[in-house]
Symmetry: C2
Subunit: 146 residues, 2 copies
DNA sequence: TGCGTAAATCGTAATGATTCTGATTAAGAA
DNA sequence: TTCTTAATCAGAATCATTACGATTTACGCA
């Protein structure tokens, strides 16, 4: 997913383009980090110091519904990141210090589903948590730990 | 894990036995469901109609810290279940209707860790969501959906 | 380019889950 | 039985998130 693609998805689905949506999307497009609404609010501080929390939450929700963002629940909060390539199903390592993510191409679902006859599977989650190399060595991460 | 074992863990760690803790543990011991604090409050209604929410949350937290319970975050809430056999690491299918869980013996971690040199792994999560056979056929589940 | 309408944003209030506080009660050791 | 400390209680506080009503803005169309 790239920025222009995300904006196109907004338009196609009848959503208006606003500077604030553009700025929100730019933040995600430039990052491979999972971010909370509060992270976003901090990051967007200089551009829009008084952006309403409602606007952030509402747009994160819209973006996720349109498949522009994906999210996970971690540490009692929702964390969002720019959606990865839809054509290549995969999972993530997530740094619990800075939120940065790394692709894990393995998906364990194919070996499992056989043992669940009678069950109706609607989704799954495979995530690995820990510290990324940067956060292991130094403490130069900018996003609050979780 | 069985009930007497859980109570023993409490004692060994210097926690007192109370009727309410006993009742809480009994609820978990008799069930393979992931339950929220509210689920517990409903279940315990007849035995202790006025059990304080604080007591529930505090004890769930104590039990989890002692390894008596395990928990997951799902649908914006923490959900707890009686801890499984510690000697056999595994994961769970979780019914999003009634919370019932089923063991998934496969763990994908051994195939993955090689690709994460430089990363410090602290944990992982592999869960499959959907409807259990009972919830697929009928709608006779008692616990609120999530 | 200017208008009009529906959507977006704002500030604030409400919600729901969880945690904290200070007072009261009870477990269990002496 | 007494005493000390932990457990419980009711209610207030907190944190993330959502809802509300009023105001502003994007953008299709004349």
């Amino acid at each position: 997913m790239i920025l222009t693609e995300a904006i196109e998805i907004l338009k196609v689905n009848g959503y208006k383009y606003t500077d604030k949506r553009g700025e929100l999307l730019r933040l995600f497009a430039d990052s491979d980090k999972y971010m909370t609404a509060r992270d976003i609010q901090q990051e967007i501080q200089m551009a829009y110091p008084s952006l309403s929390t409602d606007t952030i939450y509402r747009n994160l929700s819209v973006f996720a519904a349109l498949g522009i963002l994906e999210y996970t629940e971690l540490g009692g909060e929702k964390r969002f990141r720019f959606a990865c390539d839809v054509n290549h199903h995969h999972h993530h390592f997530i740094c619990t210090e800075c939120g940065v993510s790394k692709d894990i191409s393995l998906c364990p679902m194919k070996e499992v589903s056989g043992g669940l006859s009678g069950y109706q599977i609607s989704g799954h989650k495979f995530e690995i948590y820990g510290k990324c190399p940067d956060c292991v060595t130094g403490s130069d991460c900018t996003v609050e730990g979780y």
